[in-house]
Structure formats: C-alpha cells, structure tokens
Symmetry: C2
Subunit: 112 residues, 2 copies
Amino acid sequence: MVQYQQELDATFAALADPTRRGILERLGEGSATVSELAEPYGMSLTGLKKHVRVLEDAELVTTEKVGRARRCSLGPRRLDDVELWVGRHRRMLDARLARLGEFLDRTKGEST
Amino acid sequence: MVQYQQELDATFAALADPTRRGILERLGEGSATVSELAEPYGMSLTGLKKHVRVLEDAELVTTEKVGRARRCSLGPRRLDDVELWVGRHRRMLDARLARLGEFLDRTKGEST
C-alpha cells in the first residue's frame, strides 16, 4: 500500500509539468529520440533529459540506447493507476451529487 | 491555453501527495472541518491547513468559515480536466496498441 502510494506520488508529480505532458503526448504518436523530443521546446538536451528521467522514474516512459541516440517510448503501466484513482474518486463524487439531487427534489415540493 | 496548462500543473501537483489524496477521499464521503480531517493523520492543524490550502488553490476543495471552525468540501471542477487529459492520452495509447496488435496479427502468418 505504501509502495502504491509512492508510485502514485511519482506519477502525479511527473504529470505536473507542461513539458512532460507534452513529451507524453508526442510519444503517444510513436517513439522518438531525445533530440527529436527537444526540438519543439527549443530546450537543451540536458534539460530535456532531466524531464525524460522523471518520466522514466515514474515508469511513464521507457528508453533504450540505439546507436548513439536514446530512443524514448511510452511505458503505459502507471497511467492505469492515475485513471483508476481519478475514476474511483469521481464515482464517489457522482454518488454524492446524486444524493444531493434527490434531497433537493424531495424538498422542493411539487415539480413543474 | 497557458492558463489551462498552469491549472493542470497545480491539479497534478496537488494530487502528488498521499495526505492530500486522503483528504479528497475523506471529503468524498461528505464535508468535514479541518480538525476532523487532521485526526486520522495525527497531524498538527497547521500542517493539515497547508495541505488544504494547496487543494484550495487547485480548486479541488472549497472551504468556508462556520462559527469557529473551517468546513471543507470537494470542489469538483478541476478533476474533470485531469480525467479529460488522462482519458485523451489513454485513447491515443490504445489506438497505438491496436495498430501494433494488427501488425503482429498480419506478420504471424496463420493463427491457431
């Protein structure tokens, strides 16, 4: 349970940055080298590599050395946890809103 | 677009902490005072208030002063953005996996 919480921490923290979300969106279209990923941001390779490492630590991205380049791909596992947590939280919320709606219906007397 | 990105940053960062996720889960069952929220964590009120403020800034929680206590409730708006982003990202990923599956089907010759 502690490990699950730590993984969720790392995943949410990794997603809390527009460059890192952009990298994930780009990798959604297919794998890319670090240089290709850096291009649209006008960012140094060193800067971009730091972002890739955060995503790699959160297992949202996997990388492998191909010749002299490092190729990045999506590592899908941990986004499942995010979706699960958000979805579970939303269902609780929806149930609460439904109860509130029923309460309002009951208390407003005759409906028009 | 910049504001949307900044809001997503704040939302994901707010969710990157087990205490804050715990607070949201607790508030999913109904509103609570800061003291009630602090109880299960054995945390000081000051410590808990900091977490509540982060959630408030991310508009995941709203608070109001009721007598001498501060009552916290869920503010649902921004979780929609998280769900939307994760969902969109997942759909891209699923499409990519489906294409990969088709490719593997085509290349494996006769199926058994």
